[in-house]
């Protein structure tokens, strides 16, 4: 188990606002690693720094052991880091196939090779029937798939997925989960930002929790979701204690009145 990506003490300030505050995390090669946290926690900002779209105010980012902190985004893409955008950014004037081909051109110089690769990736993420459609006409679910497909077409080693499930209905989410799993099985390491907890629980090996720019917990998803600090970050101060009290009251009620719960 080697470390593919290592974020060390990264901070990102926008003027007076500290969006990411001394955050460190590691992504193990071959894993699906989750990055969760409440709205505005700094998850997207951390992605932006990892992918090289914004310089870090402090800290270093290492990929495959190399310090990549100073490299521009396109060079990081060349080295194998691909990202999707939380706010989808399709090339609206192009077809789905052409959109994906832009990604595929990173590893293929010839047009036919890039188009072939685009078709293959399009089918892999379930865009097969829509390849000739204009990207501007896709539904939300289609656009999310397109984000994924384009990033995947660059043949990355590390895929940064920023809420690719947000805005999808439950059945669309069920369709997407195996796609993400299959990408990992094909050897791509994934760092995923997600609010859909059911997905985080079933997909991720490890989860890092960001709150107000800081990493407040890390570990297997089950343990992290029971961590009082995490519960407080999501539900507010005192929430963990209240929930615990509630659990105890419920347990006591069950104790006094056995079987009532299942009646």
């Amino acid at each position: 188990m080697s470390t593919l990506l290592s974020v060390q003490g990264v901070s990102k300030r926008f003027g007076g606002l500290t969006a990411v505050d001394n955050a460190s995390l590691e992504v193990v090669d071959g894993s699906i690693t989750g990055l969760i946290g409440p709205n505005g926690a700094g998850k997207t900002t951390l992605f932006t720094v990892i992918a090289g779209f914004e310089p870090a105010t402090a800290g270093t980012v290492r990929f495959e052991g190399r310090d990549i902190t100073g490299l521009p985004a396109h060079v990081r893409a060349m080295q194998g880091i691909a990202r999707t955008f939380q706010i989808v950014q399709p090339f609206a004037g192009l077809s789905v196939r052409e959109n994906i081909a832009v990604g595929a051109f990173l590893r293929h110089k010839a047009r036919h090779a890039a188009l072939e690769q685009a078709d293959a990736v399009g089918h892999q993420v379930g865009l097969g029937p829509l390849l000739d459609q204009s990207a501007g006409q896709l539904t939300v679910a289609g656009r999310k798939r397109l984000e994924l497909a384009r990033a995947l077409a660059t043949a990355p080693r590390l895929l940064l997925l920023d809420e690719v499930l947000a805005g999808l209905n439950p059945s669309e989410i069920r369709d997407m989960m195996p796609v993400v799993q299959a990408i990992r099985s094909s050897g791509v390491t994934i760092l995923i930002v997600e609010h859909v907890m059911q997905a985080v629980m079933s997909l991720c090996d490890t989860v890092h929790v960001l709150a107000q720019g800081r990493i407040i917990a890390a570990g297997p998803p089950g343990a992290v979701s029971r961590d009082p600090a995490v519960i407080e970050a999501y539900l507010g101060h005192g929430a963990a204690a209240r929930m615990q009290a509630q659990d105890i009251r419920q347990a006591e009620a069950r104790g006094r009145n056995p079987g009532a719960h299942h009646a």
Partner: protein, 326 residues
């Protein structure tokens, strides 16, 4: 996809090449040669603006640089025009790279980039008008020396065919570009620069390549202009008229398409010519600038009803015709 992708280009070029065989009218031959020169200038603009989405309002800066370099290399340095032409194109490319480096590195986009190019064209125009080396306000005259070796043709058709050769080469180049990795990157930058960067596109390098190529092509139009008219001044070479025509032709013909600049230039100049003649006949005297009114109206119509230009309209009609058939 057709297996002979260059066939349409070959057909159009052969058709255009045959045009003057049946024609002897000097007016028509002059018109055709001029239309090819404008097409060429517009083709240069189309690579940067149509494919790359970087709208320049100052392509006169390249046209004028090509035109002046062509004239001055002959007049001041005694260089043969056939050698002066590639040198002038290289200079146009250099000016393109310099302007691109200054503005794209400063992350100028959209209207800011457009205004900066406009400013550059004006600076060049005012300088050429003031500087003795470029002939100042009097301009430059290239001595009349008829002969193919001096790129001056007694037969007007030869001048037309020379310009057509450049247009044909640029059609082929544009087609090749549109199917290359560089072309895909250029279009991606036009559509969404952030997304392009995420896919490994070096947006700055792509834009620099595009403006360099664009500068060279539009400069070649300036070279041919010099050889056709053998006279230049700052307003002809660097004036806003050519910036406007280089940008209007692709918009009217079809932005970011291989044939857009050609179609647009022919429509634009054709309608301009017809209106000028019509008004001259009606009022008994030429009204200067009436063709500009036509250009303005065309632009408004295009923006309102044919955002993909004449070619886009034609495609739509063809599509509906095909769709209507059972």
């Amino acid at each position: 996809m057709s297996r002979q992708p260059y066939m349409p280009i070959a057909l159009v070029v052969v058709g255009l090449a045959l045009l003057p065989l049946g024609l002897t009218s000097n007016t028509v031959l002059n018109f055709l040669a001029f239309a090819m020169i404008i097409t060429l200038a517009a083709q240069g603009w189309n690579i940067l603006g149509g494919y790359g989405g970087q709208f320049s309002f100052g392509h006169a800066v390249f046209f004028g640089t090509g035109a002046y370099a062509m004239a001055l290399l002959q007049v001041r340095f005694g260089i043969n025009p056939w050698l002066a032409l590639p040198l002038a194109m290289a200079l146009g490319a250099g000016v393109g790279f310099a302007i691109g480096y200054l503005s794209f590195r400063a992350r100028l986009r959209g209207s800011y980039f457009a205004l900066v190019t406009l400013a550059f064209a004006e600076v060049f125009r005012i300088s050429a008008n003031a500087w003795g080396f470029t002939g100042g306000a009097a301009g430059v005259l290239v001595p009349l020396r008829i002969g193919a070796e001096h790129m001056q043709f007694a037969d007007k058709r030869l001048a037309y065919w020379l310009a057509l050769t450049f247009v044909a080469a640029t059609l082929a180049l544009t087609h090749a570009l549109s199917r290359s990795r560089f072309g895909a990157h250029l279009v991606a930058v036009r559509e969404n620069e952030e997304a392009a960067r995420a896919l490994g596109v070096d947006a700055l390098a792509v834009k620099l390549k595009a403006i360099t190529l664009s500068g060279a092509i539009t400069a070649s139009a300036g070279c041919l202009y010099t050889q056709k008219f053998l006279y230049l001044d700052a307003n002809l070479a660097y004036g806003p008229w050519i910036s406007v025509e280089a940008l209007l032709a692709p918009i009217i013909g079809g932005l970011g398409t291989v044939f857009g600049p050609l179609v647009g230039a022919v429509v634009l100049l054709g309608l301009g010519e017809v209106t000028k003649t019509a008004f001259a006949n009606l009022t008994g005297g030429a009204i200067p600038g009436v063709d500009l009114v036509v250009f303005g109206v065309l632009l408004i119509l295009c923006v309102a009803y044919a955002p993909r230009g004449v070619l886009g309209l034609a495609q739509g009609w063809l599509g509906r015709l095909k769709g209507a058939r059972p």
